[in-house]
Symmetry: C2
Subunit: 411 residues, 2 copies
């Protein structure tokens, strides 16, 4: 299934927003067996839209398009498609009623400009918009099927999943099955090297999606026995990378998986954060349900707060400095005690870009995990910007909690 993604909107070609729709659609199409040759973003320009549709429809079986379906004068996608097809626009009364009803529901009166959102090229199949005003549509364009959707990500994604994806089924040859493995702790090139040979051995395709600092490994099998092959290959991936790197499957987060483990073990977690400034707590509470295992913590940014809230001795701070293993240990033990948690994680580091010294360079982070059974500590030096150092440190801290919960303090 040769496919193209076309995103229409001058806000894209001026760089006013990052085109997350394009990568999302490319991933969805690839996951469904599509071979996406091109992703194009073009300005709201009639000649350019018409010419691009002609060109893409001559070479792809599927075109998925977003944008230009709004009520304003620069929204001209439907007109351009009608021009390419050589057909008139026709008003769809059902769509008009739906637009009016939706606006009334939100206490707004339908403006004249909204009426054109119910106009479609003659013969088009209307795609309803459950999340917004502008409906989409599907037409045959040359030998391609073309799908036009609004640019608002939430509206587009719902429409794609519910109405476009099912219409793509006839283009997909045979069965396919995919397993998505979430990993943390290795770079993409290291993961790639470690997995050499798995594609051939199991007749699968491996793909990667980077979502800093995580790498998702996607194992795709096609044809007969695809489910079993994908599973066997996924197990081989887990075996090669190890269970400390592959932390879960499907739509799970690292913090969520750690939370499940803590809930299973009936353990509560607290944090004492310095260089991450609250970033670990934010990660832990990203998904709902985190109150089942996360009590809270202390952002002990100033040294005085390290002393007052988690009882780090002033002498320890004076002797070793705030970024040191003894202070990390005292922070973790203090958080354990003060919050009455079963496990406590502490982080203190030099996030940069300033503040580094030869002894304590930018990127150095000391971690400690305390429990009733003892305290572990570790130090790491992370590369990158301040944001990257902080994000890596937050993940590495949670990773250390996981190791201690699974393997104890001696591991």
């Amino acid at each position: 299934m040769s496919a193209a993604v076309l995103c229409i909107g001058t806000e894209l070609t001026r760089g006013e927003i990052v085109n997350t729709n394009a990568s999302w659609l490319a991933e969805m199409l690839t996951d469904r067996g599509g071979e996406v040759g091109a992703i194009e973003a073009i300005a709201d320009d009639r000649a350019l839209i018409v010419e691009t549709l002609h060109r893409l429809s001559a070479r792809h079986l599927v075109i998925v398009c977003t944008g230009g379906l709004g009520p304003t004068t620069d929204d001209i996608t439907s007109e351009c498609v009608a021009q390419v097809l050589g057909v008139p626009l026709r008003r769809d009364d059902a769509s008009l009623d739906a637009i009016r009803a939706r606006m009334e529901k939100f206490g707004r009166v339908m403006a004249d400009s909204n009426q054109k959102q119910a106009d479609f090229p003659e013969g088009a199949r209307v795609l309803q918009n459950r999340k917004g005003t502008a409906p989409g549509f599907q037409v045959g364009l040359g030998h391609a099927q073309a799908f036009f959707m609004p640019g608002v990500p939430r509206e587009m994604k719902t429409m794609f999943v519910e109405q476009v994806a099912p219409a793509l089924a006839p283009f997909v040859q045979g069965q396919m099955f995919q397993v998505r493995l979430k990993t943390f702790g290795m770079t993409e090139s290291a993961v790639n090297d470690r997995l050499a040979g798995i594609e051939a051995a199991h007749a699968v395709t491996l793909a990667y999606r980077a979502h800093f600092p995580e790498i998702e490994v996607k194992v795709l099998a096609r044809g007969d026995g695809c489910r079993e092959r994908a599973r066997a290959a996924a197990d081989a991936v887990i075996d090669r990378l190890g269970p400390d790197v592959v932390y879960g499957e499907g739509d799970v987060t690292f913090a969520e998986q750690l939370g499940k483990l803590l809930v299973e073990r009936k353990l509560t977690l607290a944090v004492a954060e310095s260089c991450t400034g609250g970033g670990v707590g934010r990660l832990l509470t990203e998904r709902s349900g985190s109150s089942d295992f996360f009590l809270g913590g202390v952002i002990s940014y100033a040294n005085r707060v390290k002393e007052q809230l988690v009882g780090v001795p002033a002498a320890l701070l004076a002797e070793h400095g705030a970024v040191s293993a003894p202070v990390a240990r005292a922070m973790a033990e203090g958080a354990l005690r003060v919050l009455g948690a079963d496990v406590a994680l502490a982080l203190t580091g030099v996030a940069g870009p300033t503040g580094g010294t030869p002894d304590k360079p930018v990127g150095l982070v000391h971690f400690a995990v305390a429990s009733r059974a003892g305290t572990s500590d570790r130090q790491m030096v992370f590369p990158g910007t301040r944001t990257q150092v902080r994000d890596l440190a937050a993940f590495a801290g949670l990773s250390l909690v996981r190791k201690v919960v699974l393997h104890g303090h001696d591991a």
Copy 2:
């Protein structure tokens, strides 16, 4: 200056990464007076790359291209450009030495595969890579100037700013000047409506860049007196939106501006976070220098922590519930006292997607700001996903701190 952005790489067309390079380059070109008609991402496919370069060079004066300059066999950009030009590749000894020296510096030995990174189409101008291995290059392609850069964002951005942008100067007609205003608190369409008429009155162009939950307003003036016109128009924008919405100019963050204000007033800040889980602390410490005003805080996720660490009375929690104005006030007053801060911000809310009730719906957040002079509270209901509610709440909380610092508790 008609321009196109071309990004080469199958990782893009498979949706494995979001193409942030494209929007960054589009913005840079637009800021320099470019009219970006198209942004294309294509797979690592020789025929497709050659044909796309032919097509884009026939219609644009400037082509800015990323990707395909690495050492592996699927990195074929240089070969394809040579093919389009009908010239051979030539090895550049200076580049080869630079690649070898860089790899040795990082303790690596240059592999044979790296040698091809020193091969360029005959006649190309080499663009040095200060941040990585792969050099870029510039060639004339039809009547276009085409610039080829690596896909790694940090390498690409440095190369663009230092070597590509200066080479674009001859394409820009006349002078131009831009003022960037950072705003928070209004939607893009509301900002747009409020600024109607400013473009015509001051002969400037307004553009927007959304970076949730902020909107950047860019005021661009060209030609004679552009500096003065841009300034006058920017002042008109500030006047229309108000200083509480326009919080700064240029490359500043909301937290950083608040920090400057606090440092000026010699005030320290503490936080007590519930629904944001540490997100406010993370925002406050995003830039270095935050220790000048931010002491730290308490992530009081569990009710017990609200009682133990910031002294919220159990009776208050029982009577009003954790998400209530009295509890927010007690959290802020407790954080002020416990951390010894001059100002303390507290947030408690229902981030969702579960946990909402008719009285306390998903999105409801109670805020309080305490200082020696008293305590203010406020409640807001935010739309969107759990992540959006939390991000909006963190910004709105900092916004409330700013108001209290500027105008006191009665405003």
